[in-house]
Assembly symmetry: C2
Homo-oligomer: 354 residues x 2
């Protein structure tokens, strides 16, 4: 039996500097540098094991002859309903996509609900119905669940955790460590719609826009690439922290240099306009139905062609390449030819985006 | 892509009667009849699949040659620290125990944190350290995680979801459907300590008691029984809703009649005294380190002996048997020989117990 007094007595010093961060900040959940520090110092160091060291969207487990992907995500998006989706569909898409990023076929999800006392039953019904529809479309089954209720004022309507299991084919070996010099960097579609749609819904910015979130399940795209025999080195979805954070993480984990050509990065005029008004950078805005993939340059044209066969990948584009230096940096060449280094932001542009 | 408008447009009527329950109540999370109705009508009907029909603590999945158990649990216990544990150790014990109830060897956990802005960093550190210690003791690894932060006033410090994967040996076939006439019913230890310890800590009842929660990982006990070749038919842990709810669920799922001998059910004097003062019934109080097992009467004495070899099972006792009628009932014979039928309570005795 665990003796918590003993655990407390033998407690080593808190690895997050208390003087600097005595309390958890909203920015600790924002997908930027602060969140990465919290995860590394608080969790990875404490739960130390080789699986967490994979630093991937989902963890690969080998059990007998089975290669599984396993992942978890809690959803606290505000508002619960937004143009293009709601917390229920998002909770399916997010976890299915994390599994897809390991090259897995998503199969089984769990669903854990934390409900606030007073949540209208009809609201819950709409959310659960969206989950069922999204799961069916993604070809996954929700096989286990849990329901907790917290007192009025101790929640925000509903929080949902989904965890997922997928099956990885024996031939698949995908992850940031597989990225190679010369790889093409391909994005699966236009950037920034989820973040701007949420922000517009939440803050009543009054942007005159019909913009909808890009929230979608992308496993159909990733599995198509693999089925077509494309030698994919890495997938990464572009959620909290956007394209910039994903690329920086991959550059750091793979120890390589990534060059992006800004002109090629697809961003809708509506998103670009909203970003200019709000002083935001579309490279850092969250998406929920977009990913980057790294693969040999020789296969890039065919990969883009395959992605574009699906409406979800209609705007897939090569946006850069992996250079042969070892400086862990991401650089962006602007329209006028100036190169800048992409930094990970410390906090978040938009809290509670997912 | 899921079209939530379509989903909303084609929405069938909410299966929970809105007139009776327009809003979610605390009692919907209490482990009683209301929670079961919510789960059946809202989730099982909507996410319809054969796995949810198993109605077990964890779901059994077959993937190639692998037989997996998969489960999820969110923890919202209040207060975060209580005599005998905290939300971190509890989050490990709860999910490990759910896996153990399928006869699985618990192996991998995920950890999803929902943190409230303003949570002291030291508090988080203590909780995470307890999780690490409890995971190590249970022989499981935390292999994937997620962190979200919600605004001040929209949480209650920290909520934790853990989901888990275990491996089920090919020879094991355990579940409520395996319960047979004549089976002995064995409880692994004394009842009600977790609920009373939490209630005393929360409500400052001022009960003069050194009572600690029974929160513990029980997989060492369940695996010992299986390793020793005991023909276990069913395990069920005694969490929300206590012994009564677990027995009623098993009677209903197996379609049998369970007879309990009240005199034999182990309850500490301190727990019994607190229950008398508070008007509570120890049969309905939550435990977090106790389970019942159903197995052939001929193996009962040996099973009890095996359980008692571990301090965690020191009070293991045969408390009843499965009778050969088909009325789905649980009856209790009192000390003076009167028989009463156990009913599932509608709400909860103690909200937010786990």
């Amino acid at each position: 039996m665990t003796d918590p007094k003993k655990a407390a007595g033998g407690l080593s010093a808190c690895p997050v500097p208390i003087a600097d961060y005595p309390e958890v900040l909203l920015a600790h959940g924002g997908g930027g540098r602060l969140m990465h520090q919290l995860i590394e110092k608080m969790f990875v160091s404490n739960f130390d094991n080789s699986f967490l060291q994979q630093r991937h969207d989902s963890t690969r487990l080998e059990l007998g002859d089975c290669r599984l992907a396993f992942t978890t995500d809690s959803f606290v998006v505000r508002p619960l309903f937004f143009p293009g989706g709601n917390i229920g569909s998002l909770a399916i898409h997010g976890t299915v996509n994390d599994l897809a990023m390991s090259g897995a076929r998503p199969l089984f999800l769990s669903a854990g609900f934390i409900l606030e006392e007073g949540l209208p039953m009809e609201t819950l019904w709409k959310i659960v119905s969206s989950m069922a529809a999204a799961a069916q479309e993604a070809g996954v089954q929700i096989v286990t669940g849990d329901t907790k209720v917290v007192d009025r004022g101790k929640g925000d309507g509903v929080y949902i955790n989904t965890s997922g299991i997928g099956l990885i084919d024996a031939s698949v070996n995908i992850g940031p460590a597989q990225v190679r010099d010369g790889d093409a960097v391909i994005v699966s579609g236009d950037l920034g719609r989820h973040g701007i749609a949420i922000m517009n819904a939440r803050e009543s910015l009054g942007l005159e826009t019909s913009l909808e979130s890009d929230s979608a399940c992308v496993s159909q795209l990733t599995l198509r690439l693999l089925e077509e025999g494309i030698d994919v080195h890495c997938f990464r979805d572009l959620t909290r922290g956007g394209l910039a954070s994903s690329l920086i993480e991959i550059a750091e984990t793979s120890g390589r240099h990534i060059e992006i050509d800004e002109e090629r990065v697809p961003v809708l005029d509506q998103v670009r306009g909203a970003c200019e008004i709000l002083g935001l950078d579309p490279f850092y805005i969250a998406n929920e139905g977009r990913f980057v993939t790294f693969l040999p340059e020789s296969e890039a044209a065919r990969a883009v062609e395959i992605l574009r066969e699906s409406p979800l990948g209609a705007d897939a584009t090569v946006i850069g390449r992996v250079a042969d230096s070892r400086d862990n940096l991401v650089t962006v060449r602007s329209v006028i030819g100036v190169r800048r280094i992409l930094d990970m932001i410390s906090g978040e542009q938009l809290p509670r985006i997912c």
